[in-house]
Symmetry: C2
Subunit: 188 residues, 2 copies
Amino acid sequence: MKKSLGAKALVFPTPVWIIGSYDKSGKANAAAVAWGGVCCSRPPCVGISLRKATYSYGNIMDKKAFTVNVPSEKYVKEADYFGLVSGKNEDKFARTKLTPVKSELVDAPYIKEFPLILECRVINTVEIGLHTQFIGEILDIKAEENILGKDGLPDIEKVKPFLYDPEVYTYHGVGKRLGSAFSIGKQL
Amino acid sequence: MKKSLGAKALVFPTPVWIIGSYDKSGKANAAAVAWGGVCCSRPPCVGISLRKATYSYGNIMDKKAFTVNVPSEKYVKEADYFGLVSGKNEDKFARTKLTPVKSELVDAPYIKEFPLILECRVINTVEIGLHTQFIGEILDIKAEENILGKDGLPDIEKVKPFLYDPEVYTYHGVGKRLGSAFSIGKQL
């Protein structure tokens, strides 16, 4: 028997992604988001949602570009900090001592120290309610060589991304491998 | 120095959610999606993306409703199976021996055996490319009592959801707690 918990934005897993953008003066900003996900395979696109009140919202509306930066577990404090304060009031890169690198593909900065980054061009914005969703076409993915597996693809156990637990407000790491997709279901 | 991997829909983490829907004849279907995420807090909304070719696409376009069902690790084979075959050709509930329960809020079935489910009414559809995104307002969340923590909220370590690793095609569980959100960043 299931218990009703009401209408909430609560589901597992949700990501912890740091969104890179530039303001009109060219200052790099970084903001933490958990409201996001891949939304198309061809063209490859990711959707991220922001409130209008955020500094990143104005930046991305203006530049039509953002980056998605996937932090490793070792950057959990920095990632949390990016969600604690607004770029209107603080230079978040100065405080975290992380390094913004100008993308050559889009007018947005990515975070040098993070293992996996996506460079995105905004192709659509969707007004939903408190949040606006920015749909970004992924023009390139860049990864540190030391997180690549033998297949040349990012190895999730080396990237060590983490999850956000909405409402409970905790972060969790990635656990053990459970099986191969499009494969273990054949054992049913 | 980062290596370019090209334009791909590859980022961590992505969820494994099973989407419940009814066809015109009232037959329950379930499909696995990894392209999805929360997209608004107020009203609480989740976005999921489907290809037009899928059976669920037609069902959801017709009924304007779906459920998001979060599987536990113990259902990894069933979840994978839901992504292996089409409801056009198979009765997926019969094969998995899982139980569709008619939602009282929306015209879609949820999965009785899964610990956490969301009942969603479609409020928008966004044509992106190969995939169409359905934005569903979350009208209620329902959870099994045995996965609730002391705070009355779902405990991610009891739910045991899992992640999909795109391109590499593997599933991973949830790992250890790393810290409190909106808190540990203050230690910077």
